[in-house]
């Protein structure tokens, strides 16, 4: 629970709001307990046939509790959701800041997998921990306490019975539910992953299965995986069933115990019929808070998992201090830098290092890195960007005054366009301004012309202001590539790294790439490009191969 606690702390939750939520929630459930107690008193009192006036106050109180439950519950839900949403907004910004400040290697490797896509849901899950976890537990505690208090005040024995039953119901169910959730989580990494794999194989390979006649096998693999999933699901659900049974048992035991105490107490004249009725009937209403415990525990477990993912992705970087990097890098003429690679070998942990390469590229020059697929071209580029420490050898980036650029250089002195760089769901113009904040319409038109997208833009409903990625304005693979190239040619960094996807690049894409490379070298940039296309290498001042 460490991660969840840390993140909830980062939500900057307002304590008064949470307290208010617990208070109103307890008032709501407390109304039910109160209703039950006062109604029991009233019936018991009425049985003695007093004058109707003796019941008047009780009748009013009963009606008040009748209304109070709905009203307080509404207030509680509003207050708790408001508090949690404020927390989620704060946390989202914090996570963004954490990610933005995290070391470049961890941020740049986030593109793999769906971790980033899941972060929104994960942050929401931390918020849910408050609304559906912490607050219901608080309410359960307060309401149970009130019920125990009422009974204990009338008869300590009844108070003890109710307290023990409530405690067993709460803690026992919590433990069992936690266990069920853990088993289910373990299951999801094995059985569910197998199911997903079988589903993907059936669907993605549908055409292949048809041609090769393997559809039946694929379906059997899915059935097999499903059978596994069902049986492991059953196993993980066992503790949850015990939890539900335990809660019914505890509520029943409390009822039996309290009836026994109440009837005995009344029999020996320790108290009157009204007290006996309250003691005996209170357990019927007292367990509603505790019954919410399994749900709350399940939510806490889920939120904890989400918190672990968030913390793993965006480790706390407070110790690094606030970066001095300006929010808007100036768009003045970039300085001139030379990149020198000496016997450079690159590798992610546990990866075979690339063969050593030595090369030098200065302003206005282009270094092309070629090699067969999977040889580590992108890894070399990431190393040059400074997001990954060299496995061996050195990367030396220095200016004319021989000052050397520090390792943390990506984004400041080095701009990188990845193979799968993001196109934002905003206008074409804003997508270009990702490279530089002050791009004018004329400049935008110029680079779009350069990459051959002018006619595409002309065909869009709102031209440069067309919002991409929504409705019909989807971007094809080729257009996306060229838009990224247009963005790359607007960057301000002196050193530009371009990771060009090798596969399926069509003629227009190749033309655009040539144009952008020429444009960049004409503007005295230092360009390093990773490519499969040997025919592009005529533009390069130097070509190094990673093939052994």
């Amino acid at each position: 629970m460490k991660e969840l606690r840390t993140l909830i702390r980062e939500c900057d939750l307002s304590k008064p709001r949470v307290a208010l939520a617990i208070l109103t929630g307890s008032a709501a459930l407390g109304s039910a307990v109160g209703l039950s107690a006062v109604a029991a008193w009233m019936i018991a009192r009425a049985a003695g046939m007093p004058s109707p006036a003796d019941l008047a106050i009780a009748a009013v109180v009963v009606r008040f509790f009748g209304i109070g439950r709905g009203l307080f519950r509404y207030l509680e839900r509003l207050v708790s959701h408001d508090a949690a949403l404020r927390g989620v907004v704060a946390l989202r910004a914090r996570v963004y800041e954490r990610l933005a400040a995290a070391p470049a290697d961890s941020v740049l490797s986030l593109r793999r997998g769906d971790t980033l896509a899941r972060i929104g849901a994960d942050v929401d899950a931390v918020g849910d921990a408050v609304v559906r976890g912490v607050i219901p537990l608080g309410v359960a505690f307060v309401v149970s306490g009130v019920a125990v208090g009422i009974n204990a005040w009338m008869d300590p024995a009844a108070g003890i019975i109710l307290a023990v039953a409530l405690a067993v119901a709460a803690f026992g169910a919590a433990g069992l539910t936690w266990r069920a959730a853990r088993l289910a989580a373990e299951r999801s990494v094995t059985a569910d992953a197998r199911v997903t794999e079988a589903v993907m194989s059936s669907l993605d390979g549908a055409a292949e299965h048809r041609v090769w006649g393997t559809a039946q096998e694929a379906h059997e693999a899915l059935q097999d995986a499903d059978r596994d999933a069902v049986s492991s699901q059953e196993q993980s659900a066992r503790p949850a069933a015990f939890a539900a049974a335990l809660q019914t048992l505890c509520a029943g035991a409390a009822l039996v115990g309290c009836v026994w105490v109440a009837v005995k107490g009344a029999h020996y004249g320790e108290y009157g019929p009204t007290t006996a009725a309250i003691i005996a009937l209170l357990p019927l209403a007292a367990f509603e808070g505790v019954n919410g415990v399994p749900g709350a525990v399940t939510q806490l477990f889920r939120s904890q998992k989400a918190a672990q993912r968030i913390v793993a992705m965006a480790p706390n970087t407070d110790s690094r201090g606030v970066s001095t990097q300006p929010a808007e890098p100036d768009s003045a003429e970039p300085g001139l830098l030379t990149v020198r690679l000496t016997e450079l070998q690159a590798a992610w942990p546990e990866m075979t290092p690339t063969v050593p390469i030595t090369a030098s590229v200065g302003p206005g020059q282009i270094l092309a890195i070629v090699g067969r697929s999977g040889v580590g071209k992108t890894t070399v580029l990431t190393t040059i960007a400074g997001a990954l420490a060299p496995h061996a050898g050195t990367v030396d980036i220095h200016g004319e005054g021989a000052h050397t650029v520090p390792a943390e250089r990506v984004g400041t002195d080095v701009g990188m366009t990845a193979e799968d760089a993001h196109i934002f769901g905003t206008s074409v113009m804003e997508n270009l301004r990702v490279a530089r904040g002050d791009v004018t319409e004329d400049q935008a038109a110029e680079v779009l012309e350069l990459v051959g997208l002018s006619s595409w833009i002309a065909g869009l409903p709102d031209g440069l202001d067309t919002v991409l990625g929504t409705g019909g304005n989807s971007v094809s693979g080729g257009e996306r590539r060229r838009l990224l190239l247009a963005r790359a040619s607007l960057t301000t960094q002196p050193v530009i790294l371009i990771d060009e996807p090798a596969e399926h690049l069509d003629e227009a894409g190749r033309t655009a790439l040539r144009a952008v490379l020429q444009h960049l070298s004409a503007h005295n940039r230092t360009v390093v490009i990773v490519t499969h296309h040997l025919e592009l290498t005529d533009l390069a001042t130097e070509v190094v191969s990673l093939d052994a």
Binding site: A47, P50, V89, R210, V211, V230, V410, A502
Partner: protein
Amino acid sequence: MRPLDPRLAGRIGPARRYIVTTALLGFFTALLIGVQALVLARVLAPVLAPGPLTDDGLGPLGFVVPLEARQLSVALAWLILVVGLRVVVTWVQERLAHRAGAQVIAELREQVVSHATALGPRWIASGEGTAVATTVTRGLESLMPYFVRYLPQLLLSVTVTPVMMVVVLGLDWISALIVIGTVPLIPIFMILIGLVTRERSAKHLDAMQRLASRTLDLIEGLPTLRALGRERGPAARVRELGDAQRRATMGSLRIAFMSGMALELLTTLSVALVAVTLGFRLVDGNVSIETALAVLILAPEVYLPLRMVGTHFHASADGLAAADAAFEVLEIPVEDSTGKPAAPSLHGASLVIEDLSVATPDGRRLAPARLNTVIRPGTVTALVGPNGDGKSTALASLMGLLPADSGFVAALTEHGRTDTIDVDLATWSTQFAWAPQRPDLGPEGRTLSLGQRQRVALDRAFASARPVLVLDEPTSHLDRAHRDQVITRIVAAAQSGTTVVVATHEPELIAAADVVVDVTAMEVAR
């Protein structure tokens, strides 16, 4: 949205069985709760009554629990028995719920996946494929809370609630009138509030989702921003969007929670009314203490399932939406070619592509557009052209995987011409040895790199003795040495009499081909 999708019960065996058993268990639970209330009334009545009790205060229901239960020991024995049975029922119900949920999900998943594969590659590739994958994996998981939490409560509300109403009627008709009067108000109020607030909440929901997706977009683009040194600015934007989203969300919640409030208000207030009425009638001596106690204990039980249905409503909405998405897929009709005559052997046959056009999934373009060629046995035919102009689609049509929007694919044999639309497609498709662009190769294949998979797929295609070899970009992901080797094998296969069709950008492979066909696309005139 309907609380219970009839298709679930109709088509999914485990769902039907579960609904029946849960309804029976619910009925049994109702009886136990009724007995428990009557026992409590019996044992507490002597304590509360001012004088000794003579006659049976429970009226027509007095036979259920004997008068001896007025003694503490007898009553406690009864209570312990009832509690024991309730514990067992709860446990059985929970076990059944989880098992049934898992079985229903598995069954639905298998049906949807096999239906989707029957619908064919075009349907899967049209973007529906990814949606189906999400639906049958993560989506259907939300049926679990539906089956475990929501459905039992729903069934309790149609078993326990009516049974309790009958029991209360048997005890005291005035209290029964109050209950019978208020219970129908609950759905009426919920529907009214829903109708009044629908438009506003839809508007809020829309704004909420828009803001959420924009925030996510910023986070997803973070590596890109970072790579260009532009990651600092948007933090403020994230906060701003978040605050706007919170306001929109709270706006929608203020409305959404209103129906919840109405539900709680009606149910609790009704219980209060029953209690107060009973109190005054007791004073007047119009009702027996035993009856009053029993009704007081039973009144909340009438409403409890209704309240729980409201609480678990979200589980219902998500689960039903997932089931709905699954059934939507199942209801798309499949074009079936089984029963048509078998395709002729394609050994030595020429394949004719005539005026073939296939529309892209968005319907904006034809790719390929009006493609014509004859593919002869023993030759290498290369389809060339820009990306997205329909080379792979043309290959899929050739293999009978995709129906043409216009034009024909046919085989010319010594027996004459046979069109694909006239044959059982399974017997046609299985005569092709196909190495696709991104071969799947089943779960084992997923551990290989793209280049390795490509090589395995090529080996499989070359090794099969099928009459037609179809290779989609066979040289991509390969280094020079492998590329040359593949081209040699392609030429050798053609020389041995196999019909070879490739889609490629590779100049050397194009040079090695006997026939080069330009595949072009066309915008659809609007």
